[in-house]
Symmetry: C2
Subunit: 381 residues, 2 copies
């Protein structure tokens, strides 16, 4: 896997999506890409060896979480984030703009930055855009995200406007703070559900110039249709030669839609969070492993899947592990769900490369309607 | 790995311990052997692939747990315990005599069996010795244990005598209930801390005749010296040609002592339970990963260890995972602890084969006294 300074190569683009490749100091990843979430330096229940096996090429960690615990200096002393967590591939660190809003107490957004109390121990912190870049430089991630101001939904036009203005101001300060580490820095477009604010914010970010552009502040409660309407308005404004990242989304369906409006990168906790609630993503649709119908079901979760879980374990065993609260349940479920997500984006990439996206999407939905095979059938293992 | 009807081959024996090999329908294991505990059909936090990697040759499951959940018939319908849990090596199933006492409510020991309420849902159950054999035959384990009557400690001579008598009666009924499945059946010697009761109980079991003999009812609160005094009195009475299993013990030191009084098989939750409390077993002695001194410690848990955990992760990372309650913590700790235990018994077997047990034991203890190397030093990975 080639390593090098950050770059994005757009291999193909059309009405059905974009095919590309991101190069980083820790190797490459193909786009569209799905990034598993390892907020605290661990994709929940999985070891790096599992991530390699399920097909992860790039993962996401969270600077806010790692800054609070174990502390940036601990990660630096142990040799940086890659060495700390034993993952040698590309890592994107989110800035924590969203987490400061959603997790911490006593949050006060000031012009210079955000003052907040740690959700772990209540300690007081003040983070500026420059400090957040510095944290990510010390962590040593491959792609850094600027600190943004993400207002909760619903936000009035005035609230959204103020947040977007602050996001642009902070984006500029982030860019100025960036040293010569060779790490990439992505801007984040805010502006709520207001097209004119989004347009203006995107233009401000483009003027500053970033290695990639993220669309933030969506999927916070607004209707899904509106989410993608706004997201598409933004992608239409972004330069073709930079990667676009739709933050915090989503379902398999969201990814299909996101790709078709020109998104290159996705992240979501759904596959790993679902693993911990018994939700398995399969080619036949979602499966709730807790259900009594799987009590003595010898079939694998997804007969069409070739992951470690599906090749070795039955629905009956996974249900038993889950109901018994065995720790192995969360891992086997997570292995399957991430394998599913990575297979999905691999399938999308192949369809884009072969100009067969339409057929791919039709097959995706028709498999789910035909649930007669869900109780058994030939397995791929 | 040779598979076949159950047999035990005593390869060597002397004052320092016995070297042997157990053959089962699912392969062989060398003795002295340590069996990780997978009560509910899963060694906590570990997948079968991990067990292979850490060197597990045989593991223990619990018939009481599996009978209550998911139910014997579920395991049978899915193809038996090995297939259910994806482990193709030998499995010993404990009968649950001890768990019925320690976990269930409303326990009533009657002459015919034990009446109790499930610790899971309060349902009423009555298990006879014959029923417990039948459960284990349906599970399809390689080694079955008889239902025994294990009085809580301290037990008066009368209580211990009654329990031993019932254990002998039930042992006879278990043997009679056993079908032609090719599974081995082990008897369990009871008798509390009373040598005469132990002697009599052992003789009764020998008269019935079993494939192996376990020493039960120890390490329940009595002084460690007394534990091994009683255990040694029992092993002295047992036939050389059958394997001896000291149930539910123990620490690394217990295993060293047990081997020297002629024990062949051990099981204990300590390595996997310790994993979940942050206790790591190392060549330099126990290490509590929660301690602040490991906050930024880049060394692996045990520099002398070659396990996946020690080869890829630092004490600082393991401490972070543990304090963050990341699920990966329990797995990485369990991988290390079981690797340590299996390395220990492998070392013991080699020492027995080379007649160097004395040196082995001295080295074991002297490493722990010399803790100067515990903060770093050369690693084996």
């Amino acid at each position: 896997m080639k390593r090098g300074r950050f770059s994005f190569q757009l291999l193909k683009q059309g009405g059905e999506g974009r095919l590309g490749r991101i190069t980083t100091p820790h190797g490459q990843c193909s786009t569209p890409a799905f990034m598993p979430v390892g907020s605290q330096g661990s994709v929940k229940a999985l070891a790096p060896v599992d991530l390699q096996e399920v097909g992860t090429e790039i993962l996401l960690c969270n600077a806010y979480h790692l800054y609070l615990r174990p502390g940036t200096e601990v990660v630096r002393e142990v040799g940086g984030l890659h060495r700390f967590m034993g993952w040698q591939g590309p890592i994107l660190t989110d800035s924590g703009g969203f987490q400061i809003v959603s997790m911490s107490a006593l949050r006060e957004v000031e012009s210079e930055g955000v003052r907040f109390r740690s959700h772990i121990d209540g300690s007081l912190h003040f983070l500026t855009p420059a400090k957040v870049v510095q944290i990510q430089e010390e962590l040593g991630s491959d792609i850094m995200m600027v600190l943004d101001s993400c207002p909760p939904y619903p936000a009035s036009p005035d609230e959204a406007k103020a947040a977007a203005a602050l996001t642009a101001q902070w984006a500029r300060q982030s860019k100025e703070a960036k040293g010569g580490s060779g790490q990439a820095l992505f801007g984040i477009v805010q502006g709520g559900v207001y097209p004119e604010l989004r347009r203006q914010n995107a233009h401000e970010l483009l003027e500053i110039g970033f290695d990639g552009y993220a669309i933030g502040g969506l999927s916070l409660g607004e209707a899904k249709e509106l989410t993608f309407e706004i997201a598409e308005q933004v992608t239409d404004l972004l330069p073709k030669e930079a990667p676009r990242y739709l933050m915090g989304m989503g379902t398999p369906e969201d990814i299909l839609t996101g790709v078709r409006i020109g998104v290159d990168m996705f992240d979501c906790v759904l596959p790993t969070r679902g693993a911990r609630t018994g939700l398995l993503f399969t080619s036949l649709g979602p499966l709730n492993i807790k259900q009594a119908r799987y009590r003595a079901d010898a079939a694998p979760p997804d007969p069409a899947c070739g992951c470690y879980t599906c090749c070795n374990f039955s629905r009956a065993y996974l249900r038993h592990l889950f109901l018994s609260r065995e720790l192995l349940a969360y891992r086997l479920n997570a292995v399957h769900n991430l394998f599913y997500y990575h297979s999905l984006v691999r399938g999308i990439r192949q369809a884009l490369s072969e100009d067969t996206m339409d057929q791919f999407v039709r097959a995706f939905f028709s498999q789910r309607e035909d649930t007669t095979g869900s109780e058994g059938g030939e397995t791929v293992c």
